[in-house]
């Protein structure tokens, strides 16, 4: 690539509170290329992308345009003026709009004539764009009617269009950031989308954030690896073909591998009895005929890509979603399909997700956040009044045990760092001690230190006899926490393996 880069940022630093999310990271994008960005959850990928489009402003860093230093964009509109736009992983589409309406959403003022919106003109422009990007749909189709991959393509087209309208140039240089665009897609849709993106290289450059190594190896021109906010490797795929094994090694970092050893002999687990079992559980469009047994004090993982149905499955067990067919049994007793989370919790199933927004009350102090799940433990016997002293003692115990960094137990959750927020969530489940704990992305978006503490606590709970189910995107999490792993693909449970076999499966 001899020509000038169209995006050139160097030595970016960004911290949240005391934690550095980005340290000395640089990114250069040349015309007509796809740059992959890979890394664990919490490695700083999203922070970097949000810095590029002006959602975060960096603590330090340089941005060059044609070799001249310019300031970072102030907001997404400013970023579009610089030729950068982003397609977020989700929430980008307005399903109730028609394709042409969605394409020009936010830019309608460019098509206002004497009598309001010039609909025919918009439609013609939209048609041209669809042709240019080879999108196979009608401009009057509703977004929700289209397959996910087409929706993604329209979002990409919208991002390019946005830059053109903002710069008022027909063929402006543009860099489109794609944040895990393939995550919600199944394998066919995924390949289709990737082929389309490769074809679009003549219109635009792409920064492609992903967790899927095969995509990186087959489709990217260049890839950079982030770990704990730093760039640890860069590979030019044309000259320096990297193997998947090498990539995974760079992403995970070998120094923190295989620290925990707590697996028990398989026989021991099977003899300890069933905590939960599913027989031919099906949910249309998500998973089909899934059967498994969860033994006591065992951690069972469900491994698969984002479209594999693992996330829907764990939500079904938690009572957040229903199922269409089959049977779910807790301690050998059948459950009803319409049971909500509170009923499942009474039967001993707790659901713990790393999305703290859904788990915690941000305006509340730590005390209340822990006690809300354990309210029975802190009420007086007859008329159920709250015992505030007991509540404080309970929270203080958890803060101490999990080494939560906070001035005191009445600090509001919103002022804690991500890792400490997560620890509060773990803490309330530690206090509750359900029979079965469902973990979905338990350490998403937090730093390595807090992650280790959380792993230790979870393993501790397991050794106290709590059964667990894990769903995550992080292979290391499975090898750390799980005893057995069910491999899922496109909604089917393919086979069950021991955790030692996971690496072979991933690399195969």
């Amino acid at each position: 690539m001899a020509n000038e880069p169209i995006l050139d940022v160097r030595n970016v630093y960004k911290s949240f509170g005391k934690v550095y999310a980005l340290e000395d990271t640089s990114l250069r994008v040349y015309p007509h290329e796809i740059v992959g960005v890979v890394g664990e959850n919490g490695a700083g990928k999203t922070t970097l992308m949000k810095t590029l489009v002006g959602v975060h402003s960096p603590d330090k860093g340089e941005w060059y345009h044609n070799g001249i230093r310019v300031p970072f964009p102030k907001d997404p509109k400013d970023a579009a003026r610089k030729g950068i736009s982003i397609v977020y992983q989700e929430r980008g589409v307005v399903p109730s709009l028609q394709v042409y309406q969605f394409l020009f959403l936010g830019n309608e003022e460019k098509y206002i004539g004497k009598f309001g919106l010039q609909i025919p003109k918009m439609k013609n422009a939209a048609k041209e764009i669809l042709d240019e990007f080879h999108i196979k749909c009608n401009i009057e189709d509703f977004m929700f009617d289209l397959p996910l991959s087409t929706q993604k393509m329209i979002e990409i087209a919208k991002a390019v269009l946005n830059i053109r309208l903002e710069q008022n140039k027909e063929n402006a240089d543009s860099v489109i950031i794609l944040d895990e665009p393939t995550a919600p897609l199944n394998i066919e849709e995924r390949n289709e989308l990737l082929d389309e993106i490769v074809r679009l290289k003549k219109h635009s450059s792409f920064v492609f954030v992903t967790h899927i190594m095969q995509e990186v190896i087959e489709y990217m021109d260049r890839v950079i690896v982030l770990r704990d906010g730093r760039q640890v490797a860069e590979y030019d795929m044309a000259t320096n073909k990297v193997t998947e094994k090498e990539l995974v090694r760079m992403i995970v970092g070998k120094d923190v591998e295989e620290q925990y050893q707590s697996s028990r002999p398989k026989n021991y687990i099977e003899q300890s009895g069933n905590a939960l079992s599913a027989i031919n559980l099906s949910k249309n469009g998500s998973y089909y005929d899934v059967s498994f047994n969860l033994y006591k004090a065992e951690c069972l993982g469900f491994w698969g890509s984002a479209g594999s149905g693992k996330s829907e499955l764990i939500k079904t067990i938690a009572g957040i979603k229903g199922y269409d067919d089959g049977c779910l049994m807790i301690q050998g007793k059948k459950t009803k399909n319409r049971e909500l989370p509170h009923t499942r919790l009474r039967k001993g199933i707790g659901y713990f997700s790393g999305e703290t927004v859904n788990e915690l009350f941000y305006d509340w102090p730590i005390t209340k956040n822990i006690s809300i799940l354990n309210i029975e433990k802190i009420v007086t016997r007859f008329i159920h009044l709250l015992k505030f002293k007991a509540e404080k003692a309970m929270a203080a115990g958890i803060v101490e045990q999990l080494r939560i960094r906070t001035p005191n137990t009445v600090t509001a959750i919103s002022s804690l760092s991500g890792g400490n927020k997560q620890k509060v969530t773990v803490g309330k489940w530690l206090e509750r001690k359900p029979d079965i704990l469902l973990l979905e992305d338990p350490t998403i978006g937090i730093d390595v230190g807090a992650r280790d503490d959380i792993y230790k606590t979870i393993l501790d709970m397991k050794s106290q006899g709590i059964s667990m189910i894990l769903v995550s995107d992080d292979p290391k999490e499975y090898s750390t926490l799980c005893d057995r792993i069910v491999l899922m693909q496109q909604g089917k449970a393919e086979r069950t393996i021991l955790k030692e076999q996971l690496n072979e499966v991933i690399q195969a």
């Binding site: 909500l340 997700s353 009350f361 305006d363 309210i375 159920h384 709250l386 080494r403 309330k428």
Partner: protein, 327 residues
């Protein structure tokens, strides 16, 4: 990790600070309101004036407490005043048939209406805004139907003495309403019921994952609100001694204003009945003060509307709002 003594000290400090900041503005407004009216009208704080103010605020405080629980939960209840009217009408129309048993009957009917509100919101997922507005119109219609639009007078001395017996120079309705207010405050602050109500208002998804039966809680809170509105109707009728469907017209907005003025945000999850007392004092005393000055209903409405908006601007924590948008 935590120094125990230190925690305790800072905690007490934080607690008192929080109480202070959350009630500072309403308290200030109350003082200003009293000063202004006392200056313009020297009889404002005379004995007769105080009795008028107490009558005006007492029944209102009871409806407002019920509404506060609903607002804390992040929902709306527009049916409070209509339910109150219905309860008052039931009392005046059927006191001759049932004697004082008319009170539990009225409360039961009102609880049932609140329960229906709850079912609509929780089980049928009607937005509370729409459900309670619809119910309030239905209830108004029923009230019109039963009263046939006439003015009815209440002659039962026993019933009237519930509110109008003077104890230490103050009518008994004041003690009733303060007792109910204290119970509501206790319910909100000291019990799991209150905690759950706040939880749903603060983050309903987290509340569901914390094992709270959200549907049941919503139904309970709406039933409570209906029952308290019914109780307010009973006291209203017993202090007024008569009424038609017209009573309590135009009171819904002052009611919401008093809840918000106290510091319970319409976003849910904050405030509580403890705050509502000051809000009720602000709104009802301004209303009575204006009335004592002989101001017409038109001016009263303008002033109350402005006060309602001003108070919700003053008691909103805009830092928090910004944060939630940026996040």
């Amino acid at each position: 990790m935590i120094n125990n003594n230190n925690t305790k000290g800072s905690m007490n400090k934080m607690f008192s600070e929080r109480i202070f900041t959350s009630t500072r503005i309403p308290l200030l407004v109350v003082v200003v309101v009293i000063c202004i009216f006392q200056m313009v009208n020297p009889t404002f704080l005379s004995y007769q004036g105080i009795v008028t103010l107490v009558y005006a605020m007492s029944y209102f405080l009871i409806v407002a407490c019920g509404l506060t629980f609903v607002v804390m939960m992040g929902s709306f209840d527009f049916s409070g005043i209509s339910i109150m009217k219905l309860s008052a009408l039931i009392c005046v129309l059927y006191i001759e048939n049932f004697g004082l048993w008319v009170i539990p009957i009225a409360l039961l009917v009102c609880a049932a209406i609140g329960f229906i509100n709850g079912i609509l919101v929780a089980k049928l997922s009607v937005p509370s805004f729409m459900a309670t507005l619809g119910i309030s119109i239905v209830v108004d219609g029923i009230a019109l139907l039963t009263s046939k639009g006439f003015l009815h007078l209440m002659n039962d001395e026993g019933f009237r003495s519930i509110s109008t017996t003077f104890i230490a120079g103050i009518p008994s309705v004041f003690y009733w309403s303060i007792a109910i207010w204290l119970l509501c405050t206790g319910l909100a602050v000291l019990t799991p019921f209150g905690r759950r109500t706040y939880a749903i208002g603060a983050n309903s998804r987290a509340a569901a994952l914390s094992g709270i039966n959200i549907d049941r809680q919503r139904i309970l809170v709406f039933t409570l609100s209906g029952t308290l509105a019914g109780a307010a109707g009973v006291f209203y009728m017993s202090q007024l001694g008569g009424g038609s469907v017209e009573i309590g017209g135009q009171m819904m907005i002052p009611l919401f204003a008093s809840v918000v003025a106290g510091g319970t945000s319409l976003r849910g999850g904050s405030g509580g009945p403890q705050n509502t007392l000051l809000g009720v004092i602000i709104i009802t005393w301004i209303q009575s003060g204006l009335r004592m000055l002989g101001t017409g209903l038109d001016t009263q409405m303008v002033v109350l509307g402005i006060i309602a908006i001003a108070m919700s601007i003053a008691t909103t924590d805009r830092n928090k709002l910004m944060r939630s948008i940026v996040k």
